[in-house]
C-alpha cells in the first residue's frame, strides 16, 4: 500500500487530500507511472491535467524526485504532489 498526498491547489483540483495506491502484488515493482495510470480513471480530466502540469513537483518519502515517472516505489512509501510553493 502506497499513500498518495495532494496539497493546496492540487488537493482542490483532485477533490481529495489523500489516496491509496494498492499495486498488483504479483507484478514488477510499481513505478510512479503505474501509480499515475491507476489514478487517472479516479479523477476528472481537469484534476489529472493539474497533477501532471509542468510546475508540479513530486516527492517520495518527503524528498523531491526528478524524472519521477521511472522511480521504483515500495509498500509503505509516501508519494506527494506539490504545486509551486509560496511561503515567507
Amino acid at each position: 500500500m502506497i499513500r498518495v498526498l495532494f496539497f493546496a491547489s492540487l488537493r482542490e483540483a483532485v477533490g481529495m487530500d489523500a489516496w491509496t495506491f494498492s499495486p498488483d502484488s504479483a507484478g514488477s515493482p510499481p513505478r510512479l507511472s503505474s501509480l499515475l495510470a491507476a489514478l487517472k480513471p479516479a479523477l476528472e480530466p481537469d484534476g489529472y491535467a493539474a497533477l501532471t502540469a509542468e510546475n508540479v513537483r513530486i516527492a517520495v518519502n518527503q524528498e523531491f524526485v526528478d524524472g519521477a515517472a521511472r522511480i521504483d516505489l515500495k509498500p509503505g512509501d509516501e508519494v506527494a504532489f506539490l504545486p509551486p510553493v509560496t511561503g515567507g
Binding site: 496539497f7 493546496a8 516527492a59 518527503q62 506527494a80 509551486p84 509560496t86 511561503g87 515567507g88
Partner: protein, 152 residues
C-alpha cells in the same frame, strides 16, 4: 545553533529575541531580524490568509535553507518561525533572526533566509477576500531575488 519552528499559534518577538540573545557570547556584534505581517487583500480588512504546509517535509525545507545560510556566513545563532493555518491582516506570519560577529553577515543571512523562504520553503498561501479565494502565486520578483543569491 538554529531554532526552527512551524506553528499555528502566534510568536512573541520579545521572547524569541531574548532566547536568541541568551545563546550569544560576547563575540556576537550584530543581530538582523525580519518579521512578516499579513497584509489586507485589496484593502479588505476582513480578508484572510490561509497557510498550508506538509508536516515533516516543510520543516526539512526550512532546515535546508538555514543550513545553507550557515555554510555561507559565520552565524552565531539563527531563529526561524513560520506560522501556518488561518491568519488575519496585521497578524505576524514569519520571523527570521540571524546573529553574527559583524553586521554584513547578519544582514545578508537574514535577507537570504527570507528570500529563500519565499521560493524554497514548502508552504502554500490562499487569500480570501469577500467571496473570492485564490492560491497565491510566487511572483517573478521573488524568483529573481532568490536566483540572485546563486551567483554570490
Amino acid at each position: 545553533m538554529a531554532c526552527i519552528r512551524i506553528q499555528a499559534g502566534d510568536f512573541s518577538v520579545d521572547q524569541e529575541w531574548s532566547a536568541l540573545r541568551e545563546r550569544l557570547d560576547a563575540n556576537a556584534g550584530a543581530v538582523a531580524a525580519f518579521v512578516g505581517l499579513v497584509r489586507e487583500v485589496h484593502g479588505d480588512s476582513r480578508s484572510s490568509l490561509e497557510l498550508e504546509h506538509y508536516p515533516g517535509m516543510t520543516e526539512r525545507s526550512v532546515e535546508a535553507i538555514v543550513a545553507e545560510a550557515e555554510q555561507r556566513w559565520s552565524l552565531a545563532a539563527v531563529t526561524v518561525i513560520h506560522r501556518v493555518g488561518r491568519l488575519r491582516p496585521t497578524d505576524q506570519i514569519v520571523l527570521v533572526l540571524a546573529a553574527s560577529a559583524h553586521r554584513s553577515a547578519a544582514l545578508a543571512a537574514c535577507e537570504f533566509i527570507i528570500d529563500r523562504l519565499k521560493t524554497d520553503a514548502i508552504f502554500w498561501k490562499r487569500e480570501t477576500a469577500g467571496d473570492d479565494t485564490r492560491w497565491v502565486q510566487a511572483t517573478d520578483q521573488d524568483v529573481e531575488r532568490a536566483k540572485g543569491w546563486a551567483g554570490n
